[in-house]
Structures are given as structure tokens and as C-alpha cells.
């Protein structure tokens, strides 16, 4: 089936079985391997991407259901100056250790910050509760997201 969607800001049309997982289409057909697979059943959140701005597990989304929609992956996070504030915060604040969970956390955090630019600790923890990290104990991830929120606030007064 021909599936057309906007991927990281660019319209793409691919030919894929409609019940192929969005995850496999991204990693295989489209060669975007930044989205990771940790469990394949919606538990770990490593495969998180944004579908119409909302975080979803790409391992549980049928590619055919993405027709006509927008998808954002970790590869679409950078801006013209390079790493976004959020990505940068994960580097400087210790949000990534082994890094396998990181793209998923970045996508969940991106959606959280879009709706709530300066979330409190509890809101951050709830926003990333669908992402499992076995390395960090979460604290540095929470700090990275908080830091990114603050950075943005300090640059966009009001």
C-alpha cells in the first residue's frame, strides 16, 4: 500500500504493507535507525516517536494508520544550529548513559515541553513514565528535561 506522511517536516510516500510496524518502516524502509526497539510490545518506550505531535510507541503503530499524518523522530529534533536545547541538555546533564533509551525519552520530553514549557518534577516523571531506562535511575533524565525547559524560558522572555 502507498502510504504518504510528513516525516520530520518532509512529505514522504512509501510502499509498505499497511500492517508493518511504523518502527520497521522507519528503521528499515526509511533507514532512520535512531528509533530503537527494546521490547516490541509497548512496555519500554525506546521506540517512541511523535504522531501528530503525540508520543506513541512505534512498535505498536501500523504503518497504514499513519497515512496522511505527521511523524517526528529523533532524527528530526535538530534545528539549523545543530542539537536542540533538549538534546544538548541530555549531553551536559547526564541524561544519556548507554543511550539506547535516549531517543525515546527525547521524544516523550519534546511532547511534554511543547504542552508545558516549564514542567515540575512530578509532571516530568509522569510524562516519561512510559519510557524505561535501566542505566540512569531517571534522576539525570529528569534534570536534563528540567534544564531544557529553563533554557528555553530564559531565552524566550514572557
Amino acid at each position: 500500500m502507498k502510504i504518504t506522511f510528513v516525516l520530520n517536516g518532509r512529505s514522504r510516500t512509501i510502499d509498505a504493507p499497511p500492517l508493518a510496524r511504523l518502527l520497521d518502516v522507519l528503521r528499515g524502509t526509511l533507514g532512520l535507525t535512531g528509533t530503537k526497539e527494546g521490547c516490541g510490545e509497548g512496555e519500554c518506550g525506546s521506540c517512541t516517536v511523535l504522531l501528530d505531535g503525540v508520543p506513541v510507541n512505534a512498535c505498536l503503530v501500523a504503518a497504514g494508520q499513519c497515512d496522511g499524518r505527521t511523524v517526528l523522530t529523533v532524527e528530526g529534533l535538530e534545528n539549523k544550529d545543530g542539537l536542540s536545547d533538549l538534546q544538548d541538555a541530555f549531553v551536559t546533564e547526564g541524561g544519556a548513559q548507554c543511550g539506547i533509551c535516549t531517543p525515546g525519552f527525547l521524544m516523550a520530553a519534546r511532547a511534554l515541553l511543547a504542552g508545558n514549557p516549564q514542567p515540575g518534577e512530578g509532571e516530568i516523571r509522569e510524562g516519561i513514565a512510559g519510557n524505561v531506562c535501566r542505566c540512569t535511575g531517571y534522576q539525570r533524565i529528569v534534570e536534563s528535561i528540567r534544564h531544557a525547559g529553563k533554557e528555553r524560558a530564559s531565552r524566550e522572555p514572557g
Binding site: 530503537k36 510490545e41 533509551c101 524505561v132 535501566r134 542505566c135 539525570r140 533524565i141
Partner: protein
């Protein structure tokens, strides 16, 4: 400004946050086939054959069985484990055959079209059955290893002590659950075997490949792909997976990629050893400890893997962070027909430290002493000796850890006002408030502590035998005017930050900015054998080799500068004009005074210990027995924090694994099979389960540690979390648990039986 001691941005960070870091499943090669494993459905049996469904179209499918394996052993400590079962099957999920095909549908079909013909044998599933020799499954007695440690005369001293207490403490399996499942990409060419994979120890894998295929070093190249966590789980297991992928690649003549899915990973790969520890102690009524006798019993699973080393480390940590004049420790590991247990962060120590810490709480209870006060009274100090007779000469920061953790957590007040270790308060005293949608549960709070140590580096003479090596190259990059440096080491970065820390150490010694130093991808073809990435040895041991290699290189440049003038860079470039690259390779020199006797288990077990005090505050719902961790304070003596932020990240991550082991994780094993090999049923903590950590880095430097005194701390944080949580639950509810885990069902059951 010095880099060591500063939390510089992680060197591998940008690739990891942009999705460009390549893990094994992100790699491919032209013509790559996918590989899969046919596994045993039974715990023990005899393999009579493997039937291939003649109706299946086998074209393009490669099948490998034991007959295809040149030397059918996995070369680890012992060679008891076959690459593919040939005759006796010793555990469920044991690999029986391999298949490769071009696409996943064909692959799954081929796997289903293979049927193993197995004659089942009665399995030995418990430690008790193994000891009773219900069936003979290893050697003559089913025992993998035994260690004895003794100091003074424990039996006599206990008999003469005014207060004698004993207890038995059990800990279950634990799954590493790194988020990236195991995977390997293999191919052959004229140069020999090539592997890229998710792994901790490239030279372990190389050793196994050399043995099975009778190859030499030059013909086996093992390269680490970016690795998504290991925690010990990718220490020995990747060797087996590498052999499987290579066998398929050899037979098919094509590259082969094998990526486990989560269920296969949980079922087939190694876990933490279940353990039972029995302790008898003697002390006086003021709580001055005198003597302890400890029996450690571990379940090794079906094959030896690393069990003897795990058991040894467990035994060496069993007496805890305390002064005992008399110690007797006996540790035994047995074989059972369950999937092999192996390395997992802490390596036996979390099991025995759980036991001694629970036992310390038992003593405190018996004597009505504050549990931390009892511990403080008996802490090891400089000048004391450990159970192996090791004299502690320096860097014993435990007293400060306890003080800092107490202060930060408000221990004294909370201990006095929370919990009271009283039985559940009567219904009359309950809170009564229900907001719409809310609940009026009864809750109790408590606070608990643990104190622990962890030996850094290999045990005993391990480092002396290993002779770890590191090289640093100075070279000129084509478009650059200044020399660059490259660290070559087999120490892998599996998330802990090896790369960044080594760059910091080398750049400081060489007095260059960090961006002029790079970290070679660990590949056996390129790097010298620095030893495995295990045993909290990377920063302290390998880091010190990096430091000395950098020092030597610096001295050579400095000598040239003094001789012929100019700047440091001028001198470096003059050297490079003669010879490019300039290489400094160093071998680890263990401190000369360290003495260890493997036969008697006496002497300096470790060059130095890292120390820690954990304090947990919990709230237990008295209706549902759910435990929420409200606060967690970890004060750890790390010697010197080379990168404070990553150091804290290690402590927090390790501690949460310990908390998960206590409060969430439970591996259900029945008839030798794992019933909950999924992330929806093997439960690890999420961000909402994790507490906010207060992590305090105590620095009592180790004179021979790199960067001004760093000690290994990779495993330390796994040791203290579980006993601190158990103590806090006890304080809150009065429920005393000697066994892990502490799931709501366990607390409920304990409450019912009044134990």
C-alpha cells in the same frame, strides 16, 4: 583548567542524542542473513536428533547443528558448555540448532519446521536437590566451587559471646534487563572471522572464537558496537552468541545478524545467582561485634560460566564493612538444570551484603540499638584487617559516608518520629479523608540504612596475572597543524562513561584540550588487551594505565622540548616527523606490596575498597502493602570523582537496580522455565517508582588511583539499596523480611503469618 573533577559534556553524547550512534541492530552488510536459535523446551534430556519438516521449502535456509561446530565448547573458565547441545541437554532454552534466512518470515517458518527429538531426563531444579545429588549433573557432587575464608577462631568466639544470633537470608534471581537486547553481526573473509556486537569484553569473545574455530589472534576481529547497557549481562554471554552467528555465517557464506527479542533475551541469557546465606554472630550487649560464621550457597545454573568468581566475590564481601576478630566463611555454588547464572553488577556481593546487613538489623533489634549506631561502632578503619587478613592502609571513607548520609537524610529525627517499628496502628487511629477520586488509605513511614563496601579491581592476584595493557598514539591528522592523540584500550563504554573519563585523564596529563584526544573503537584488531570491562576495574585499573601511558608520552615530548626548544606542539611535531604515530604502550603494574594466596584465601583481596552508606525513607500503604520510596540518600566514598555528574549517574542507576530488586522484580521459574520473560511481567521501576536521590560523593583518595585517587565504583551502588529498603519497611510497619523480594504480596503474606 584541569578536566579531571569536572563534569564535561559526554564525549559520546551528541551521537546518542541525535540517533546517529550505531548499535548492533543499526548495522548491516550486503547480503546479510538473519539468524535464530532453536532452543530446548525441557530442562534436562537427551537430544536424539532434530527433525526437518520435509514439507517446508528449505531453499535459501541455512541450518547448523552440533555436527557443524568444529570444537564444540564455549571457552570460559571451564569448557563444560557446548556451543550447541550435542547429547545431554542441561537447561531449558539451551541452544540446539541455528537457522539463517534472508527474511524474517522465512526464518520464523524454518524455525517452526525444526523439531528436536528429546528423551526427557529428571531435572535437578533446586539447590537442595543438587546437594542431595538427586541426579548427577556436574562432576561427582554437583558442586561448581567451594571457598573458605578464616580468621581467628570463629566457632569458639561465638560460643563465648554474650549475645549469639543467627539467621538465614535469601535473595532471588535478577535479570539485567539492559534495554538493548543482545545482538551480533558476523562475517568471514580472507582475513578470518569478523564480529561486531553488543558486548563488554571483546577479548573474551575473541578467546572463544579462537578456541571453537582453532584460529589465532590475527584471524579473529571482534569490534564493539555502541552497546545499550550490559550490567554484567554482556560479559560472558556474547561469546556464545558470537559463535552462533559465526557458525551460520560460515555455513551460509554470507554475513549473519542475530538479534534477540526481549523474551529470548530474558529466557536464554544469564542472571544474578540466587543465594542463601546463613549467619551466626557473637557480640557483647553493647553491640561490639566479635565473631561471625557465614555459609553462602549459590545456585549456578546449568554451566560454570563465571560462577566461581561470583561466588568468590560474594564470600569476600560476606562479613560486610565491619571489624570482626574472628571470621569463618564457607561458600559453595552448585549446579542445577536452570539457565546458567552469570555476571550481574555486584557479582555476588549484593547477595551476601543483603544478608549481613539484614543480620546487623537483627542484632540492633535484639539489643534495642539504633541500627546505624551499631554499625558505626563496628566500622572498619584504617589499621584494621579484613577477614582475609588484609590490612587497610588508606582510603577508608566509610565513617564520613555514614555521617554525611545521616545528616542529609535527617536520620536521627526521622528514626525517632517515624514508624517506631510498631505493629500496624489500630483502625481507630486511621486517617479518614477521601477526596473525590482519592482514597483514604492508612500509611506508615519509616527510615532504614545500610553500610557496605566493594572491592575495586580483580580479586587477589587477578590483575597481576592479567597484565592489562593500554596504548596511546600520537599522530598527525591530515588537515591539522597540532598533534592528536588516540587512546587504544579494550575497556568498553557501555554507558558508564569510560570514553569520557579516559579522555579527561589523558588530556590532563598531556596538557591538551579534550578534543585533541580520541578514543579508538574497541576492536581486537586495533586495541591491546586491557582486560575485561568488569569488576569495577575500568577507571581505577585501566584508567591508571591510561594515565601512565599518557605520562610516558608526555615525558618523551617534554624531553624533546627541553633538548631542542620550542613549544610542546613543536616538540611533538618533531617527534612525529621521525615516526608517525608515536606510540606509548603500558602494562598494568600492580602495587608491589599486594600479596595474595589463592590456596589459603589470605592476603590482599583487593587493592582498595570503595565504601557506601545508603539511607531510604519509605511509605508503606497498610491496606495494599505498596511501598513508595520517598527519599534516598547515598553517600559513597569514590576516592576521587573524575566526572562527578557521571559518577552520580552510576550511583543512582545502580541504586535503582537495587531498589527494583527489592520492590518490583521477581523472576518466576517453574520446572526450570521462566514464566515471565516479558517486560510486561518482569517489572522494573519507572520514573514514577524511582525516588529522588540525594547523592553525596565522599572523596577519600586512593594513592594509586588515577586522576588523584579514583576508586572503582561501578558495582558499589548495587550493594546497599535492597537492605536499606528492607530496614525502612521494617521501621515503618514492623514487618521483618529476611528474604527478597519485598513485593506487596510478600509483605502481605509476612503480615498474615506474623513473621
Amino acid at each position: 583548567m584541569a578536566l579531571v573533577g569536572r563534569s564535561v559534556p559526554r564525549a559520546d553524547g551528541p551521537a546518542k542524542v541525535s540517533g546517529t550512534a550505531h548499535y548492533v541492530d543499526d548495522l548491516t552488510r550486503p547480503g546479510v542473513l538473519l539468524g535464530a536459535t532453536l532452543r530446548s523446551p525441557v530442562a534436562r534430556g537427551r537430544l536424539r536428533g532434530i527433525r526437518r519438516d520435509p514439507a517446508f521449502d528449505w531453499a535459501g535456509v541455512t541450518v547448523v547443528t552440533a555436527e557443524d561446530v568444529p570444537v564444540n565448547v564455549v571457552a570460559l573458565i571451564e569448557e563444560d558448555q557446548p556451543v550447541l547441545a550435542a547429547d545431554e541437554i542441561r537447561h531449558a532454552y539451551e541452544p540446539l540448532a541455528l537457522v539463517a534466512a534472508e527474511d524474517p518470515v522465512r526464518l520464523a517458518g524454518a524455525l517452526r519446521a525444526l523439531t528436536p527429538e528429546i528423551e526427557p531426563l529428571p531435572p535437578v531444579l533446586t539447590v537442595a536437590d543438587a546437594l542431595a545429588r538427586k541426579a548427577q549433573i556436574h562432576g561427582s557432587d554437583n558442586i561448581f566451587a567451594t571457598y573458605r575464608i578464616s580468621k581467628g577462631d570463629a566457632a569458639r568466639a561465638i560460643a563465648r559471646s554474650p549475645v549469639r544470633l543467627n539467621g538465614t537470608y535469601r535473595t532471588p534471581h535478577q535479570e539485567q534487563l539492559y534495554i538493548e537486547p543482545q545482538g551480533m553481526l558476523a562475517f568471514w573473509d580472507a582475513c578470518g572471522a569478523h564480529l561486531q556486537g553488543s558486548l563488554q569484553c571483546p577479548f573474551y569473545v575473541q578467546k572463544g572464537v579462537k578456541r571453537t574455530f582453532s584460529l589465532d589472534d590475527a584471524h579473529v576481529d571482534v569490534t564493539q558496537a555502541v552497546t545499550g547497557g550490559g550490567f554484567g549481562g554482556k560479559e560472558e554471554y556474547p561469546t556464545l552468541l558470537a559463535l552462533h552467528a559465526l557458525l551460520l555465517a560460515k555455513k551460509s557464506g554470507q554475513p549473519v545478524k542475530m538479534i534477540y527479542d526481549r523474551q529470548e533475551d530474558i529466557e536464554a541469557t544469564t542472571k544474578r545467582h540466587p543465594c542463601e546465606v546463613t549467619i551466626e554472630s557473637g557480640c557483647d550487649r553493647e553491640g561490639n561485634l566479635s565473631a561471625v560464621s557465614i555459609n553462602v550457597l549459590m545456585d549456578g545454573g546449568a554451566y560454570v560460566t563465571l560462577t566461581p568468581v561470583v561466588l568468590s566475590r560474594g564470600a569476600l564481601h560476606a562479613a560486610g564493612a565491619y571489624r570482626w576478630d574472628h571470621v569463618a566463611i564457607e561458600a559453595v555454588a552448585v549446579a542445577t538444570n536452570t539457565p546458567p547464572n552469570g555476571a550481574f553488577r555486584g557479582f555476588g556481593a549484593p547477595q551476601t551484603i543483603w544478608a549481613i546487613e539484614r543480620h546487623m538489623d537483627r542484632i540492633a533489634r535484639e539489643l534495642s540499638l539504633d541500627p546505624l549506631l551499631l554499625r558505626e561502632k563496628n566500622l572498619l578503619r584504617v589499621g584494621d584487617t579484613t577477614p582475609t587478613g588484609q590490612l587497610l592502609k588508606e582510603s577508608v571513607g566509610i565513617q564520613r559516608c555514614v555521617e554525611e548520609a545521616k545528616k542529609a537524610s535527617g536520620w536521627d529525627t526521622k528514626r525517632a518520629t517515624l514508624g517506631r517499628a510498631a505493629p500496624v496502628r489500630p483502625v481507630a487511629a486511621m486517617q479518614r479523608q477521601t477526596a473525590p477520586g482519592g482514597s483514604a488509605s492508612r500509611k506508615a513511614r519509616g527510615i532504614g540504612a545500610s553500610v557496605f563496601l566493594h572491592g575495586a579491581g580483580f580479586t587477589g592476584s587477578g590483575e597481576r596475572k592479567l597484565k592489562g595493557r593500554v596504548a596511546i598514539d600520537m599522530f598527525r591528522a591530515p588537515s591539522e597543524k597540532k598533534p592528536r592523540f588516540r587512546i587504544r584500550t579494550a575497556s568498553t563504554d557501555i554507558g558508564q562513561g569510560t570514553e569520557t573519563v579516559f579522555l579527561q585523564i589523558a588530556a590532563d596529563v598531556l596538557r591538551v584540550p579534550m578534543d585533541r584526544v580520541e578514543f579508538a573503537t574497541p576492536s581486537t584488531a586495533v586495541v591491546p588487551d586491557s582486560g575485561p570491562t568488569v569488576a569495577s576495574r575500568t577507571v581505577m585499573i585501566v584508567g591508571s594505565i591510561v594515565e601512565s601511558a599518557a605520562r610516558e608520552l608526555f615525558a618523551r615530548i617534554e624531553y624533546e622540548r627541553q633538548k631542542r626548544g620550542g613549544s610542546f606542539d613543536d616538540a611533538a611535531l618533531r617527534l612525529l616527523a621521525d615516526q608517525d604515530p608515536v606510540v606509548s604502550e603500558k602494562t598494568y603494574e600492580p602495587p608491589a606490596e599486594l600479596a595474595w594466596d589463592d590456596a589459603t584465601y589470605r592476603g590482599d583481596a583487593y587493592p582498595v575498597f570503595a565504601w557506601g552508606c545508603d539511607i531510604a525513607e519509605v511509605e508503606v500503604d497498610l491496606d495494599t502493602f505498596e511501598t513508595a520510596v520517598l527519599g534516598f540518600w547515598a553517600a559513597h566514598d569514590v576516592g576521587k570523582a573524575i566526572h562527578p555528574l557521571m559518577c552520580k549517574g552510576q550511583i543512582e542507576g545502580g541504586t535503582l537496580q537495587a531498589i527494583g530488586w527489592a520492590l518490583n522484580e521477581r523472576l518466576v521459574v517453574k520446572d526450570g522455565k521462566i514464566l515471565n520473560a516479558r517486560m510486561s511481567t518482569y517489572i522494573v521501576p519507572t520514573s514514577l517508582d524511582a525516588p529522588r536521590f540525594t547523592t553525596i560523593l565522599v572523596e577519600d583518595p586512593y594513592s594509586k588511583g588515577p586522576g588523584g585517587g579514583a576508586k572503582g565504583i561501578g558495582e558499589l551502588p548495587m550493594d546497599g539499596g535492597a537492605p536499606a529498603i528492607a530496614a525502612a519497611i521494617e521501621h515503618a510497619t514492623g514487618i521483618i523480611r529476611d528474604d527478597l523480594p519485598l513485593l506487596p504480596e510478600d509483605l502481605f503474606a509476612a503480615r498474615q503469618t506474623g513473621t
